[in-house]
């Protein structure tokens, strides 16, 4: 029995609680009498109308499973017990409805599920300054560390050299990252909550405004920059598109190119990487997509995209019922592809092992393509020239790798290293570029204790309560 498991051993404390509970029960019954009568009348009226089909004609609350005491002293809930005690002390006990409302408005949560540590989501190396930079989608930060930092196994965490975060930064769910090799400027892409690409100077720290902002379509994810052409590429998850801006674009500037449409085979695109040697663009796709109407111009119609050319067609012009789940894929295009054009090549099929392929980096000199396979807890390496249903040439995976839900990666060709941002375990891990199998990382940067649980909450939007299992269901 729940009460038995959580028996209050102090007799004085038990008496106090019972007294409070008796008072509260009486107070609630009296307070709700008017509303109950009102509801009862409404219920009867609603229930007596014939509808020609089966109706619910009565409803009774299920009996409490563990008796009245359990209602007030839930199992294993010290916090709720405290809350009920605290509840009894509220000003509403003295009377006025206004005071009761004020008390409820100010009421503190009894519990809060929240990760206290940074969850790294994307990563890039500042080669010139020998630093590694990461976005944190849990505490909404951008963190810079020494490239050679290594958190000892016994240490709680590694302190970053610099941190950016706070409302002025507009940093929130930053999922894509680019470091300007010329000056160390940090470009950080937001996904789903703030439709603004933020750019900071390398020296920026604390809660400071971005040095530059760009209003983007909703649902950006990946970023890649062609330094020679001074062009910036962004994937758009929600509209299955790629938009290309001037690298120096600012504020409300419109994209200069758009890649979108059924022929592109873009489907919930995430990562993007450029091979400027061979003039190619690589995109990872999770596979969910719907078609857009073809009788409307590629000019924004809503919000910040209004009247802008090369703005992705949004979900408001989706073709009803055209949605589908395509297999996950890598699609390859000419670097300057635009409009509704088919990819030059597609890598997809069961041999690829794709399972939410997310981060991507191409090494044209070695003809290699690196993919962070989010739900596979692994890094997949393919021939960059691969096509069709092909197996990876290397797989980096296993408990020694410490790879867990890798959402970002970075290929450091100067130091011949591969970096992985592990959203699932508070770490960024680095390996030799050629590592494969269950290989331990060369170094680890950790934001919290090694045994800290990882809730992996990322923009929790809806919530449901599972009455059968006493569980909270939270899609992210």
């Amino acid at each position: 029995m729940r009460v038995g498991r959580h028996r209050v051993r102090n007799a004085v404390g038990l008496s106090l609680i019972l007294g409070l509970l008796a008072w509260l029960a009486g107070w609630m019954v009296t307070r709700d009498q008017t509303e109950i009568a009102e509801l009862s009348r409404a219920s009867q009226a609603a229930l007596r109308q014939p509808s020609g089909s089966a109706q619910l004609i009565s409803s009774e609350q299920l009996p409490e499973m563990d008796g009245a005491m359990c209602e007030w002293m839930p199992a294993s809930a010290e916090n709720t017990l405290l809350a009920s005690l605290w509840q009894g002390q509220r000003p509403g006990a003295a009377g006025s409805q206004q005071a009761q409302r004020a008390e409820i408005r100010a009421r503190k949560p009894a519990r809060m599920i929240r990760d206290a540590y940074a969850a790294y989501s994307s990563i890039a190396v500042d080669i010139a300054n020998n630093e590694v930079v990461m976005t944190d989608e849990n505490l909404f930060q951008i963190l810079a560390y020494d490239r050679t930092a290594n958190t000892p196994p016994t240490a709680r965490m590694t302190e970053p050299k610099r941190m950016l975060g706070g409302l002025q930064t507009k940093i929130e769910f930053q999922c894509g990252l680019y470091i300007d090799p010329r000056n160390g400027d940090i470009y950080a892409v937001n996904n789903d909550t703030v439709d603004t690409l933020v750019i900071f100077s390398r020296q920026a720290k604390g809660n400071v405004p971005p040095s530059r902002e760009l209003a983007t379509p909703h649902g950006t994810f990946g970023i890649a920059v062609d330094e020679a052409a001074q062009e910036m590429f962004l994937t758009i998850q929600h509209d299955s598109a790629v938009v290309v801006y001037r690298k120096g674009a600012v504020k409300d500037e419109a994209p200069i190119r758009l890649l979108q449409g059924d022929r592109t085979m873009l489907a919930d695109p995430h990562g993007i990487s450029l091979d400027t040697t061979n003039n190619l663009m690589y995109v990872t796709n999770h596979g969910s997509v719907s078609s857009r109407r073809t009788d409307v111009p590629n000019t924004g119609t809503l919000g910040r995209g209004e009247n802008k050319p090369n703005w992705p067609l949004g979900q408001e012009v989706a073709v009803p019922g055209s949605g589908r789940h395509e297999p996950p894929s890598i699609t390859v295009y000419r670097r300057d592809a635009r409009g509704d054009v088919a990819p030059l090549r597609v890598i997809r099929g069961p041999k690829t092992l794709f399972n939410w392929p997310t981060g991507i980096a191409v090494d044209p000199d070695r003809d290699e393509l690196f993919i962070s396979n989010d739900n596979g807890d692994e890094i997949l390496v393919f021939r960059a020239s691969a096509e069709g249903d092909v197996a990876p040439i290397r797989v980096l995976k296993g408990p020694k790798t410490q790879i867990k839900n890798p959402t970002g990666l970075y290929l450091d060709l100067k130091n011949n290293e591969l970096w992985v941002a592990n959203f699932g375990n508070h770490t960024a891990t680095v390996y030799a570029r050629t590592a494969s199998g269950d290989t331990p990382p060369l170094r680890v940067i950790r934001s919290g204790p090694p045994d800290a649980p990882s809730p992996m909450i990322g923009n929790p939007h809806p919530v449901a309560y599972d009455t059968k299992r006493d569980e909270i269901l939270v899609p992210n």
């Binding site: 509260l24 519990r111 009803p320």
Partner: protein
């Protein structure tokens, strides 16, 4: 009773689940022990076993050309009458709970008299009501209460809207608690605030409220702990209100016996 940095008990994710990383609604069906999630990118409604875990495929999928689904971001489930409700801006689509495949809606609530904008829906099977929250473009947010079986161009029975309501911008899916006739709505606050707002709160109304009626209670704000509230759910067993907050990136549980 999870609290702090709790590890999830189970996770449903991955390619075979047909889910994505951008999910905006969920409904648990305690009668049939299932839950439903809309997949907005793929215009699909995914129904899973209540105990689903890992990379588990949905038990049923509503998707295809007959569905009329456009951007199904949110939904509600009526486990008593076996129906699924999907708000689609100017209309509400209704499907059979057991629908699977390319299923047409069994009825559609749509037309100028409805007053929709529909951003979020909830069902009260006890009082036979459909409660819709949303706003027509460039109009204020309102709570619209229809007969549960309303279809076509039907007027709402009651509309809660106006300055006293403090209904600025809906935060996420709302909830109803039928036994006491509560309507629980999350409000983000100032429409211009993308990141956080002091005006964020959860408000509680009654199904019989009509017109410019202030919430009977607010919790978490305004000027409270909530910074950018999203979804709400009730836990009748423990007399609690569960709330998600985007800026806190957290799930908060309030002890709220007055709701029940």
């Amino acid at each position: 009773m999870a609290n702090g940095g709790a590890e999830p008990l189970r996770r449903i994710e991955g390619q075979k689940s047909l889910l994505g990383r951008t999910m905006h609604a969920i409904a648990y069906d305690e009668i049939h022990d299932e839950f439903i999630v809309p997949q907005q990118f793929a215009q699909a409604l995914l129904t899973f076993r209540g105990s689903a875990s890992g990379e588990e495929p949905p038990a049923r999928v509503i998707q295809g050309s007959r569905t009329m689904l456009e951007q199904p971001a949110r939904l509600a489930l009526d486990a008593v009458n076996n129906e699924i409700y999907v708000p689609e801006d100017d209309k509400v689509l209704v499907y059979p709970r057991m629908g699977n495949g390319n299923v047409a809606p069994t009825r559609v609530l749509e037309g100028p008299d409805t007053g929709l904008g529909a951003a979020s829906v909830a069902i009260d099977p006890v009082h036979n009501l459909l409660v819709v929250v949303g706003a027509r473009r460039r109009e204020g947010t309102k709570i619209m209460i229809f007969n549960r079986t309303a279809s076509g161009n039907t007027k709402p029975l009651r509309v809660i809207t106006g300055p006293k309501t403090m209904l600025s911008r809906i935060g996420g899916p709302h909830a109803v608690y039928p036994p006491t006739g509560r309507i629980i709505v999350s409000i983000r606050g100032n429409i211009d605030e993308e990141l956080a707002s002091d005006e964020s709160f959860v408000g509680v109304w009654n199904i019989n409220d009509n017109g410019d009626v202030p919430p009977r209670w607010t919790i978490g704000g305004p000027q409270g702990v909530l910074q950018m509230v999203r979804g709400v759910a009730v836990n009748p067993k423990h007399k609690e209100l569960i709330v998600t907050d985007k800026r806190l990136n957290a799930i908060l549980t309030f002890y709220f016996p007055e709701l029940f």
